[in-house]
Symmetry: C2
Subunit: 343 residues, 2 copies
Amino acid sequence: MDERKKRVLSAIINDYIANAEPVGSRTITKKYDLGVSPATIRNEMSDLEDEGYIEQPHTSAGRIPSAKGYRYYVDHLMRRERLSAAQLRQIREFMASGLSEMDHFMRACCNMISRMTNYTAIAAIPERSSGRIVNLQLLPVNERQVLTILLTSSGLVRYKLLDLPSLAESRELPLLEQRLQQALVGSELSAVSTERLHELIQELQLRERMQEQVIGLLEQTLAPEESRRVFTGGVMNMLSQPEFRDIDKLKGLFSLLDEDGRVKELLAKASPEDSVLTVTIGGEIPVEGVQDCSLVVANYFVDGERAGSIGVLGPTRMSYGRTVSLMEQIAAELSRTMSGKEK
Amino acid sequence: MDERKKRVLSAIINDYIANAEPVGSRTITKKYDLGVSPATIRNEMSDLEDEGYIEQPHTSAGRIPSAKGYRYYVDHLMRRERLSAAQLRQIREFMASGLSEMDHFMRACCNMISRMTNYTAIAAIPERSSGRIVNLQLLPVNERQVLTILLTSSGLVRYKLLDLPSLAESRELPLLEQRLQQALVGSELSAVSTERLHELIQELQLRERMQEQVIGLLEQTLAPEESRRVFTGGVMNMLSQPEFRDIDKLKGLFSLLDEDGRVKELLAKASPEDSVLTVTIGGEIPVEGVQDCSLVVANYFVDGERAGSIGVLGPTRMSYGRTVSLMEQIAAELSRTMSGKEK
DNA sequence: TGTTAGCACTCAGGGAAAGAGAGTGCTAAC
DNA sequence: GTTAGCACTCTCTTTCCCTGAGTGCTAACA
């Protein structure tokens, strides 16, 4: 693809991103100074269409980028847009504001991103986060219930209120707690499998009928809590996008965003384990409901291992340059902040 | 209003609720057997319109209920609809499934209601919930952070990860924890004001520079956590309502539902402190964005005091009979379940 | 006096027709 | 290889007309 074709493609995509309307040859000569006449542009456009980079909604309309066109743009033409000082400051302030609890932190992060981009932000924390168990407590709430609390070095707090099946056991709680602490505090979360728990219970030599209760208890506490490991922000921004004037499209998209499982699947499919940033365009994602969307996903890492994914979902006609810069910055800061946390 | 007028109004409202289309005189004679001709119905309708119970979108259309009409219907004509056995069972099962943590419980409750009604459910837990402090713990996470955990008799678990301004203090934590427990465990949450905390700190005779830190710590822990005291469910159901085919209306409504503060305001304005169930119709609520909606709010009580509000937001054309029955049932069960919890 | 049939009238919604405008593709000249 | 000119295509908008639903009014009826 020669230089001028690239400039034409760039112009078409940039204009379409800005105005959401098919771009004609005259528009290009007027707004983007390529030094040639509309007729020449038309020839180039005709070529670009033959090669599949752009398409025509109908004969008498301008051209719009195709998925292939966007792909080429993202891979070769796109300029990263420098973040404004104000934005940088906002991100830094946010990171410094303390990520006390993962929950609030991620929710707030999604909100910040959605406000900055005017798109929708989605995030997921992986199933079992890395980190060591820092503390494990069993707090009796009343005769029938116990609150188990798990603290990890990555700043994750997990608690679960569990029902005790029999009153008798509550008397043995302090002892149980002590033993569990001895056994588990300090170990890597990832090392605590169901098998390990079974062994542990054996070692503890508990009364038989209590064994499975305790295992259940711990498993539930350690179990990844599906529900709150997926976050979204700025879903409503989609309402302002002209491509979602159509209620049925909205429905499809929103029903997707409403289901944590499908959001997680989306993030997983859109970003390889070890990539920092992935841009997925339109139909490239094999997930129902996001055909007209693009997704910019960033992974952040702690100790070289992926600690989570966070992404921006917008119309295919999204402002890639801005979004990519922003997400690179955010991922970097997240990695830094979370690693700092570890120490 | 005579008997026949009531029947006509009922017919109009029931039909409009079912079909979302203006109701004509012929439709009424055909579908609702009133034993009179369309012409007679027309006369009645003309009267009803003069009195403001119904209105005409345009000359050649049927009639639709006005806010006043709905109000009369809800107050005098509406039949409560018996819940199906399946629904009752679902509710009971849900209540029995354990309200381990308020958060998940309320979220799940909203989801259940929205599934049952196909409308949107909103809920709020009041600022400072009733109940006694059952346990208060300060768990050191690392040198710089402490996790404060507060357990209340109403089953509420609140935790907050707090930064310690200086390392020195962390050594004094166990002592502090012990003293705070002695002083606070057992007291009513509502009795713990900022003033009380100040007194308490005085009594504890802490080193001066630690005093305000501890107060801050406790205040933050006790402080109502705005963010997660408001819940919504089934927001997307609104997309299926014909009255929200219009994107701009949707935007107004969704932006309201997106802001916890405004949702809380809505619930508060829509239900008097001591009422069990309140139906608010259309413009009756002085809140931007819900002009085309009605709201059925139920309060539930623990120890005679309001423990929270939960409501259904739907189009003015909502199925009041069904919704009211459902919410009465839910509120009753909530009151029962939460009171049971106390013991 | 209340009810009904008949009829003229009104108005939204849908479809067809016409015109405007945007944009292209092709041809021929530069 | 580039450009001007021009015919052509197709959408979008506006206008017009027609249809159908539903009303309100009047006069007759019980």
